[in-house]
């Protein structure tokens, strides 16, 4: 794996895990969501929710960037490493209990990620970048 692919995949995973973590923290403190759109808007008063949404936007951008040179069938399993980090963060910061089934699931995901990450990221022909569309 190229360092660029590894670093971008790591950024995709980190922004997703931290984004969901902040969002969940903020929504737990906020008033419960109702059918009214106003309750969704008022959730944005929480700085945790704002930070969470910002991180999820970053997640979307880094993932789109990664998809510009890596296959979908590569990106999907490799970024599933986020499930593992979420479980570890829950254990470390939220003192959640992780049972044997969860550890088994976590190990299966790690094995899947390891298997896919040694395959070449791109198997289709690289598109010729159209003029002016790549970053300068």
């Amino acid at each position: 794996m190229r360092p660029k692919t590894a670093l971008t995949a790591a950024a995709v995973v980190a922004s997703n895990v931290l984004g969901n973590f902040c969002l969940s923290l903020g929504l737990k403190q906020a008033a419960p969501l109702t059918a009214s759109p106003l309750s969704y808007l008022s959730a944005f008063l929480s700085p945790w929710v704002v930070l969470g949404v910002a991180l999820l936007i970053l997640w979307m951008l880094t993932r789109v960037a990664l998809l510009s040179w890596a296959d979908l069938s590569f990106v999907l399993p490799v970024t599933a490493a986020g499930y593992v980090l979420t479980a570890l963060m829950g254990k470390m910061f939220l003192a959640e209990q992780i049972g044997p089934a969860r550890w088994a699931g976590t190990l299966l995901i790690v094995a899947g990620v390891a298997l896919v990450s040694v395959t070449p990221p791109r198997t289709t022909r690289a598109a010729r970048p159209a003029a002016g569309e790549s970053a300068r």
């Binding site: 789109v64 399993p77 499930y83 088994a104 395959t119 198997t123 289709t124 598109a127």
Partner: protein, 119 residues
Amino acid sequence: MKWALVGVIVFSTIVSDLLQSYEMKRHGEIHFRRGGLPRVFGRLCLRWRLLLAVLFLALSFFAFMKLLTVADLTFAVPATAATYVFETVLARLLLKEQVSGRRWAGAGLVACGVAFLAL
């Protein structure tokens, strides 16, 4: 209700990912250089397939939140694991990616692992 929501989540996630991958393959590799990235991402906003992908992603996100109000997380998480298998099949068929034995095995392991998380 539960299964209808799962259907909406799985379907919209798949459509969103296929659209993103298809459009970004057409775009070609993004190069990280100082100062250029805001322009690149700004231009990406003009691509209708990516905008449609964001809409489907939002639909999937709100359907997931709705699902959490009518079902447990232990039901919601494994239900979304199905997308790994479906998307790998569709990446092979529609995006013409060469899915090697390792990738099939990896996607299968991840899907099983995600399903296990809910036990």
